[in-house]
């Protein structure tokens, strides 16, 4: 019986010839990523261990990205704990360099790896053919101390993509459409695998955007095959080489296969307060907004900023609307600077911010108040996610968000 | 002539507005919400210890720093009857007068008095403490006008004929 990509990566990490869905295996981890959301808690638990030790410090990557720059003494203390521990133990450490998943994709992840991240959107690494999955502090700590963990091999849902996206329809519209189709728990415990002719029409940025959001359908991980687009990305980002490039076997078992014609996708919006509460943009046209957000690990890459800038050039942000533009990393920031995109946004009246999670995390950088409405390229629209518990978050693409920022209300991305 | 007696809380020189009410609490809805955080960077317990009628005695340059009017308002909200300091920063001084918080300048009391002791203030005349008297200088007439009106808001209400 053949194997899926997910099975092959786990087999490799377990040192086995073959594994199959439903089995539980002990695996070695390639990376353990953790950010300032929870690392201080992991350190507290670590310090309570009888014989605290780090299995392999080089597997650890710690990234301060959630509250950057820091917004409170309490957070400052948590971040200091993380910084001091990283310094004392020689752990790879980033602060203010960007959103953790973007940094992992730019600098660390290579195909074939099995990676735990103490953050749910770790599934983004599937874009690079790596098995990334989110874990809690306890699992993280176990991995940190032993270098390994156990995983249950997931069933795979396969998405066969064909065709090409229409102008101003983005990968985000694709994944939001899929989540709307299968529901917020439609892929619980499963791997979501994306293949097909349509893949060649998706950039690495598109692929990260798709994989990143799979957790919103409940997926354990998301996976894609390695192709030239992947290899070129790796080459351009530090000349990295794959650990292993996997494709699912022809006789692998998929729980279900969906055929998605990319050319049939239309711009969509996830309405408050669930990611699968989906509607075509045209159905929510006219909803007044207070704030628009272009950024996050989902849509803060150079391609997203290019799209936004191409729409807003020559226009102004609507009166009384705040438009936050937050590049996902320092690399993206500088690239956007060199291409003149940051100036286009600043000239239009947007607020260009330092790379960080910003209002997607809803802590300090542009929180929304009571009764306010945000349209966002962030990952979630749960109640209170971006600020006050009585506020409203719509999720849309970079194009939809930018057009809405100009209009002051939700509009179609074709408006400008 | 008005007179009152109160317990002394003794503070030092250059008590700035960030000490009186830190910026992070300035966006709270009301001064009552802010009052529990009064003086918290310097003495976190002080706000809960101050009782209505108490008097703050301090050194030079009391209220230096920002223009935040919440500074005198928080002191008033804590029930402080008067502040007696060697000198005041100018914005704080104006804000206090405009809100009817009694400020008294005296050069020596802060060197003599001990925290927790009681002092008596005879407004416009002198302070009495441990058998000694400390003189109080008079305010300029335009400030007395505002104080007599009951603060600047009331003075403007009179101007607009609504009281």
């Amino acid at each position: 019986m053949g194997m899926t990509i997910a099975e092959k990566i786990i087999a490799r990490a377990a040192g086995l010839e073959a594994v199959h869905a439903g089995e539980i295996h002990t695996v070695a981890l390639d990376y353990l990523m953790s950010n300032d959301g929870t690392t201080h808690l992991t350190i507290d638990m670590f310090n309570k261990l009888k014989h605290p030790r780090i299995a392999d410090k080089d597997k650890l990557v710690w990234i301060v990205d959630h509250n950057v720059p820091c917004d409170s003494p309490k957070t400052a203390a948590s971040q200091k704990k993380m910084r001091d521990f990283a310094r004392e133990n020689g752990i790879t450490f980033y602060e203010g360099a960007g959103v953790c998943h973007q940094i992992m994709c730019e600098k660390h992840v290579v195909p074939g790896q099995l990676i735990f991240g103490a953050d749910s959107h770790t599934c983004a690494y599937g874009a690079l053919g790596a098995f990334g999955t989110g874990v809690g502090c306890t699992d993280y700590l176990y991995g940190m101390v032993t270098g390994g963990s156990w995983v249950m091999v997931p069933e795979t849902l396969r998405f066969n993509l064909t065709g090409k996206l229409a102008d101003r329809v983005t990968a985000r519209d694709v994944i939001l459409t899929i989540i709307g189709m299968i529901g917020a728990n439609g892929a619980n415990y499963h791997a979501m695998e994306f293949v097909g002719d349509g893949m060649k029409n998706l950039t690495m940025s598109d692929r990260i955007s798709i994989c990143n959001l799979c957790v919103e359908a409940g997926a354990k991980t998301a996976l894609m095959e390695v192709d030239d687009i992947t290899l070129n990305y790796l080459a351009a980002h530090g000349g990295r080489k794959p650990a292993a490039c996997f494709k699912s076997d022809d006789d692998a078992v998929f729980e279900k296969t969906y055929d998605i014609d990319l050319s049939s996708i239309v711009p969509v919006v996830a309405k408050p307060h669930f990611v699968d509460n989906l509607a075509p943009v045209d159905d929510v046209k006219g909803v007044k907004i207070n704030e628009a957000f272009l950024g996050s690990c989902n849509n803060g890459r150079i391609e997203d900023l290019r799209l936004g800038a191409s729409i807003i050039k020559g226009h102004k942000v609507a009166d009384k609307v705040r438009f936050l533009v937050v590049p996902a990393s320092q690399e993206v920031y500088r690239q956007a600077l060199h291409e003149g995109l940051l100036d286009i946004f600043m000239e239009a009246g947007a607020m260009v911010m330092n790379p960080n999670c910003s209002v997607c995390w809803g802590s300090c950088q542009g929180v929304i108040g009571e009764g306010e409405v945000l349209i966002s390229t962030g990952t979630r629209n749960f109640k209170g996610r971006a600020g006050d518990k009585n506020s409203f978050v719509y999720l849309g693409s970079a194009a939809t968000v930018t057009a809405s920022a100009i209009a002051g209300e939700i509009v179609s991305p074709y408006t400008y | 002539m008005e007179q009152f007696t109160g317990k002394v809380w003794l503070l030092g020189d250059d008590i700035d507005t960030d000490i009186i009410i830190p910026t992070e609490y300035l966006a709270l809805k009301t001064v009552q919400d802010m009052a529990p955080y009064g003086f918290s960077p310097l003495r976190p317990d002080l706000a809960s210890q101050i009782k209505p009628g108490d008097i703050i005695v301090a050194g030079k340059n009391f209220g230096c720093g920002s223009s935040r009017e919440q500074a005198p308002e928080v002191i008033k909200a804590l029930g402080v009857r008067a502040v007696i300091a060697r000198s005041y920063a100018r914005i704080f001084f104006r804000n206090a007068i405009n809100n009817g918080l009694l400020l008294i300048e005296n050069d020596t009391l802060c060197d003599d008095v001990k925290e927790g002791d009681e002092i008596t203030v005879r407004v416009g005349d002198c302070i009495e403490y441990a058998g000694r008297t400390y003189p109080i200088s008079a305010l300029p007439s335009n400030l007395l006008d505002i104080l007599e009106a009951g603060g600047l808001v009331k003075a403007m209400q009179k101007l607009n004929g609504i009281i």
């Binding site: 450490f93 203010g96 320092q330 | 700035d16 920002s66 223009s67």
Partner: protein
Amino acid sequence: MGSTLIEKIFAHNIGADSVKAGDIITVNVDRVMIHDIFIPFVKDKFEEMGFQKIWDPDRTVLIYDHLVPASQLDDPRHHHIGDEFCDKYGVRNVHRSDGICHQLMTEAGYVKPGDVAFGTDSHTVTYGCVGAFSTGIGYTEMASILGTGKLWVRVPETIRVNIKGTLPEGVTSKDVILTIIGDLRADGATYKSLEFTGSTVDAMSVASRMTMSNMTVECGAKCGLFSPDEKTAQYCGLTELDDFLKTLHGDDDAVYARVLNYRAEDFVPVMACPSQVDKIKPVSQVIAEASAMEEGSIVPSVGLIEDGTVRVDQVFIGSCTNGRLEDLEAAAAVLRGRQIAPFVKLIVTPASRKIYREALANGTLDILAGAGAMITTPGCGLCCGRTGGILTDNEVVVATNNRNFLGRMGTSKVNIYLASPVTAARCALAGKIVEG
């Protein structure tokens, strides 16, 4: 008998031949500035006072800067109240994300030489850099001005500060004003006007003068004035100084409460040490004192002693004091082609949207970002202590802003050193307090 600069501004404002220090006068207000933290309170007081309209909406400027980007759930409420206030009373001069109020008031042309302006912020003294009287007031007085267009002031005595010569390399106007504050102490100019003269200030850019005017409130001053000159005219978009503006200098035979004389060559890089703005020490002295302390120890009001100096955890370059293009350029000159020390955060917050764009265009932001700086969106940022780089116990921050009060940037055990952008950038590079 001659007049001081402030006496001339006030006399002109009220149409008198002359006024003298100690006079209590009622001035006609040319411009007022209100910022987002206090607008709800101004609105309440204004309406409580019974006013129906603003005396002159076009002389009123509302600027959102302290709460931008919003960091607490209640922050947007201030902006909604501000927006409603402007709609109701016809205020059109509103800046919602264009930068720090004090930068915008002169940059956007709201305040001109000779004007009388008030703002709901203590650093309103900044506009003295163009020869305008401006000072901070509370929200109740602001409400009364909005209704009447007038306010009483006592004409202040003047301390004249005369500086001659050329500043040494690496010494900026920030070092000058910090040194003066150290000499005058935090209350040394209370109720008074500071008037800056001499070849050193003549040679300064308006931006450098702005740094000095901005900080005069830290020694208690009511205002900190420079005579307008050709540079001022150019900065303010005036074709030339008119006859009145040409008279705006303190007469030598005016009565001065005090005259301070400085030689520019004597200035050195200095820092305001934790936690008073007037606790001024040469950077070399800060290092010398630290080197005498126990290596590895944490010293209260100093920080962690490491390598014979003080370890630096964070550097902040920004604020209405030092967030201008020349400040960012000075930092970039230090950091060009280099990387800040590991585990140090460098936060750069341009003072306005215009400055941000200029620094984008001329490559300054690219140099700073390339060195590892986080470039945040224009606003008050860390200086107002609500977000933008808050710290915790025993951490050390070297910052270019104007206040290092206890608890200003986090807990009361955070050690804040104020310095010039040059010194700040050097410290970011080294990860510790260094002089060169």
